[in-house]
């Protein structure tokens, strides 16, 4: 920890600065030390809560779902229940991730405030962009880890049963961590890419307005998705059987497919979904990085114009 207290290079110091303030966006009027902790805890416990609540549910049918299915030797029922639970969990991870990324919307790219506050210091604008990007990556990685710890440890026990093709606990834990982690990366970088595209495409004077509409629409989508995830776990085998008809283009189904494939499922539909999950994650990360690197260079004049409400973040005038 002593090393951390010392002064290091410009890039390190900028990352330290942005990482410490990543949730202090324009939507916040005062420094909020509680926010990172609150969101971190929320992210940590919510997906796990899905499982824990069900296990401790007052409804006996719910609490002993797998036990009943196992006693009835209903192998197809157990498989369907496990897929539904996994899809519900991934949907919740995707929605929570999306909401976190939207909360960070203002912090994803440097703003005119950053440029002006650092203007007299020996810092280049590309260093500010890079530091913002690195801090965002570190922050997202921390959240991926936080969100996945409990689900990865609990899900294999939760979904465990005689139906498993491979009953290795660690294989299931790894599959859970990987599929949730990639789902997180997919959503987070899709939002980064979306904001980057808006910054590059939307006229500067319209950026703030368009950005608010996009944020609002996405927040609604993620909130509805989050609520809907609670009913996914009730899907019956006949709905699971119809997944190829209605779920092939739903991102949570891709990552559920990845989880199933990693745990030994040989179903062709899930194999295709797993491939789709990998390709989508790759595209999202590539686009996110590309739009960040390809963004117009922030200039002093642009930063001044932004603060006076004449343009969007980072736009030269």
């Amino acid at each position: 920890m002593k090393w951390l207290e010392e002064t290091h290079g410009v890039q390190f110091e900028l990352v330290r600065h942005f990482l410490g303030r990543i949730l202090d966006g324009e939507w916040s009027s005062s420094p909020g030390q509680w926010r990172p902790a609150a969101i971190g805890l929320f992210s940590l416990f919510l997906p796990a809560g899905l499982l824990l609540v069900r296990e401790g549910a007052m409804n006996a049918n719910y609490a002993s779902k797998y036990l009943r299915l196992a006693m009835a030797a209903d192998r197809a029922g157990i498989r369907a229940a496990a897929i539904a639970d996994e899809a519900a969990l991934i949907t919740l991870v995707v929605c929570v991730t999306g909401l976190i990324a939207l909360l960070e919307w203002q912090s994803l790219f440097p703003t005119g405030r950053d440029y002006l506050a650092l203007a007299s210091l020996p810092v280049r604008s590309w260093q500010i962009f890079t530091a913002r990007f690195i801090s965002m990556l570190l922050f997202s990685t921390a959240i991926i880890a936080a969100m996945n710890v409990l689900p990865s440890l609990i899900a294999p026990i939760e979904f465990g049963g005689g139906w498993q093709l491979d009953s290795s606990y660690w294989r299931h834990a790894g599959a859970q961590a990987l599929s949730s982690g990639l789902a997180y990366l997919f959503v987070f970088f899709t939002i980064v890419a979306l904001q980057g595209v808006l910054l590059n495409v939307v006229p500067a004077s319209l950026f703030t307005r368009v950005s608010v509409y996009v944020q609002g629409a996405l927040a609604g989508l993620f909130l509805l998705g989050g609520f809907y995830s609670w009913s996914i776990k009730e899907w019956r085998p006949e709905i699971i059987a119809r997944l190829p008809e209605f779920g092939a283009w739903l991102p949570p189904v891709w990552f559920t497919g990845l989880h199933q494939t990693l745990t030994g499922e040989r179903d062709a539909f899930f194999t295709t979904m797993a491939q789709r999950a990998l390709i989508a994650s790759g595209i999202a990360v590539t686009l996110g990085v590309a739009t960040d690197l390809g963004i117009k260079e922030l200039t002093y004049a642009g930063a001044e114009a932004e603060l006076r409400g004449l343009s969007g973040p980072g736009f030269p005038v």
Binding site: T7, L14, S30, S120, L121, V123
Partner: protein, 254 residues
């Protein structure tokens, strides 16, 4: 030495600063004077590298500053006209950020920050967010940030803005002390009486052009004026202030 060579800035083709040239030698305090909108701040921003000149260049110790802007900025202390600080940072946190970005080792930085906060009477408010500071307190933070790394060149753009009388007197003494230690100081302002007391030479700007560049003593002698205010009035052909005040009074009373 700082050399400003034929600096010109146009916005949408309209010249704001035209063909401005001057030099600043070690141990010198150069006043940069002009009425509102004369182009003082634009010149300062071009010198510091915040705005790209349309023409001309700035040289520091014989090298164009554009060649290695961060190295130049590392040797410059700059107090901008408008304080742009992170509102959520405390004064102490902003100074820590500035010092770290200038590469100052932690132990040296911490002691310097504590001393400067005490000397500028900000100690009690060191943990308050900058958004709660008065304009003068923000100005003190900017001054502290500009002095932290013991710069070779100090560029001050209206540094007295919001400062109380005591701090303004401290700053005046400080500038003279820095000049005596061989530092270069560019002092841009329209507060003529302070400039007259601290500056050895002045550059007077009017409508983006240099209309005088000389020592104050020599300007007084050649223009037969006893004060910088009189010289300034002659050179910039500003309105007759007495007549304007009388006109305003008349408008108020009608």
């Amino acid at each position: 030495m700082l050399e400003v060579c034929s600096l010109t800035k146009r916005f949408n083709g309209i010249p704001v600063v035209e063909d401005v040239s001057f030099t600043l030698k070690p141990g010198e305090i150069l006043g940069y004077v002009g009425p509102n909108g004369a182009g003082k701040t634009t010149t300062v921003k071009m010198i510091i590298g915040l705005l790209e000149p349309s023409e001309g260049q700035v040289r520091f110790q014989g090298r164009s500053v554009i060649e290695d802007l961060p190295s130049f900025q590392a040797r410059v202390g700059y107090v901008p006209e408008e304080p742009q600080l992170y509102p959520h940072l405390s004064g102490r946190e902003y100074l820590q950020l500035a010092g770290r970005l200038r590469g100052l080792p932690r132990t040296i930085l911490e002691s310097k920050i504590d001393e400067l906060l005490r000397l500028f009477s900000l100690w009690e408010d060191r943990h308050c967010p900058v958004s709660a500071y008065s304009k003068g307190m923000r100005q003190k933070i900017l001054l502290s940030a500009a002095l932290l790394h013991n710069p070779d060149l100090l560029i001050l753009d209206e540094p007295l803005s919001g400062l109380d009388v005591t701090t303004a007197l401290v700053l005046r003494e400080l500038l003279e002390g820095l000049a005596a230690r061989g530092r270069m100081i560019l002092y841009s302002s329209h507060v003529l009486d302070v400039l007259e007391k601290v500056c050895s030479r002045v550059v007077i700007l009017s409508k983006g052009r240099v209309v005088a560049h000389d020592s104050i003593a020599h300007l007084r002698e050649t223009m037969h004026e006893s004060s910088l205010e009189g010289i300034f009035g002659q050179l910039t052909r500003e309105q007759n202030h007495r007549a304007v005040a009388a006109d305003i009074l008349e408008v108020m009373q009608t």
